[in-house]
């Protein structure tokens, strides 16, 4: 996410709930000077088809993020812990099928 150039409208990340049963999903970004304009640009751009249910816009520079390349220890609780998975343990039945 780049810094906005002098005078350029801010960048907003757009999240869309495309239909019932799904959570909001990141679909892209728009440029706008205020939240209402961001929402209306996002509406024009990302909801031209289908039956969208809801739209969020979030200023790109307010997203506080971490990524594995930069902060490896931050995600160290994910790998190397096989005991977090059911396959690590003895099956409940012969062959282990139908357990879950």
């Amino acid at each position: 996410m780049s810094r906005p150039a002098e005078g350029a409208p801010a960048s907003w990340e757009v999240f869309l709930r495309p239909r019932r049963g799904l959570s909001h999903q990141h679909v892209g970004s728009v440029r706008a000077s205020d939240p209402d304009m961001a929402l209306s640009h996002a509406r024009d751009l990302y909801t031209r088809r289908g039956e969208p249910l809801s739209l969020w816009v979030v200023r790109s520079d307010t997203v506080y993020a971490a990524s594995p390349g930069e902060r490896d220890p931050f995600f160290s609780n994910a790998p190397h812990k096989p005991y977090r998975y059911p396959e690590e343990f003895v099956p409940l039945s012969e062959g282990g099928e139908g357990d879950d």
Binding site: V27, G28, D34, D44
Partner: protein
């Protein structure tokens, strides 16, 4: 990438830096080899980033400049139905441009810079759109042939190695199928109409066939396609790099062949003749043969200097400048609102 031993000895940090570069490059190559996507915050070689910015920007510019030939026909559509369809299509093209500028911004550029580079003539768009759309049938031929070529070009880009580009392309491709269909439908209506309407359809195909075949797929990048050896070798080098990085997945000439194979039977169904006497089925290859493009001649005839090319860019710049007051007003409104919000917090309760 690896410094000479003498240089490394001269500056102690250089060897370490080279080793770290080599490690990052190896990680990046491994990611590509696994068929994984590269995401915005991953380390990537400068060349990869530059190639992507160049390609995505060129692509985005083509989408928004591509609105012009058809957009000019909006007020002269022959029925309300065709007008609604064309309006939806032209709006989609604007949207495609915006999806792509959004993807480009994840690479650390600002869309304002990209637009400025387009306006200065430093970044390109598909030269196909430097042809004028002379009749109503051109809107059909552009959609059927140019968008048809775009679909063939873009379908593999849905799996390009850079995540945001691939995701933007999936949205684009879903919409592009509608563009091709409505163009074909428009051509079919003309072909089933009066002899004059059919002649208008044939005339539009005569003018849009070569731009689609030649310009939508880029220069030749295999010698087999009949280009001269030097141009083909140059094109092949660029394509090899792009394919190695997973940005492209096929050569320009492979995609061009695929396009011709799609179009010939479609034209036959319409009863239209594609303006290339070299087109015939080749049983042995399992493909249609087609006449080689005379690239030298074609490029010469299509400089940036043509009347339509100047008109396209001037129109784009004028639209941008005419919109300046809207952008300024929006910024002023936003500034006043945020000022009002800060002032308001002390006196108003927030529900």
């Amino acid at each position: 990438m690896t410094g000479s031993p003498a240089r490394a000895a001269a500056s102690p940090g250089a060897g370490e830096e080279a080793a770290s570069q080599a490690r990052l490059t190896a990680e990046f190559e491994a990611l590509l080899a696994e068929g994984e996507t590269v995401e915005p915050r991953d380390w990537m070689p400068d060349g990869y980033r530059r190639m992507l910015i160049r390609q995505i920007a060129q692509h985005a510019h083509s989408e928004i400049i591509g609105m012009q030939p058809e957009g000019a026909w909006l007020t002269r559509a022959p029925s309300l139905h065709r007008k609604s369809v064309l309006l939806a299509k032209v709006q989609d093209e604007a949207g495609h441009g915006l999806y792509l500028y959004s993807a480009a911004e994840t690479l650390g550029v600002d869309r304002a810079e990209l637009l400025a580079a387009l306006h200065r003539g430093q970044q390109r768009y598909a030269a196909t759109f430097n042809h004028p759309a002379l009749t109503w049938a051109d809107t059909g031929a552009v959609a059927w042939l140019t968008d048809g070529a775009a679909v063939i070009n873009q379908a593999p880009l849905c799996h390009t190695s850079y995540g945001p580009y691939a995701r933007a392309m999936r949205r684009v491709c879903q919409e592009e199928a509608f563009h091709v269909r409505q163009g074909y439908d428009l051509m079919k209506a003309l072909c089933e109409g009066t002899p004059a309407q059919k002649a208008m359809a044939q005339d539009a195909v005569d003018r849009w066939w070569l731009p689609a075949v030649a310009l939508m797929f880029g220069p030749p990048d295999t010698e087999a396609a009949g280009g001269d050896a030097k141009t083909a070798a140059l094109g092949a080098a660029v394509s090899r790099r792009a394919i190695a990085w997973g940005i492209k997945r096929h050569t320009n000439d492979e995609l061009r062949q695929r396009f011709v194979d799609h179009c010939v039977p479609q034209a036959e169904r319409l009863g239209l003749t594609l303006p290339d006497p070299g087109i015939r089925w080749n049983e042995e290859r399992g493909h249609y043969d087609f006449g080689p493009v005379d690239w030298e001649l074609y490029r010469g005839a299509l400089g940036d200097d043509t009347h339509t090319a100047r008109q396209r860019l001037a129109h784009r710049v004028a639209a941008h400048e005419d919109g300046a007051w809207v952008r300024e007003a929006a910024a002023a409104y936003a500034a006043r609102q945020s000022g009002a919000d800060t002032a308001g917090t002390s006196t108003e309760a927030v529900a």
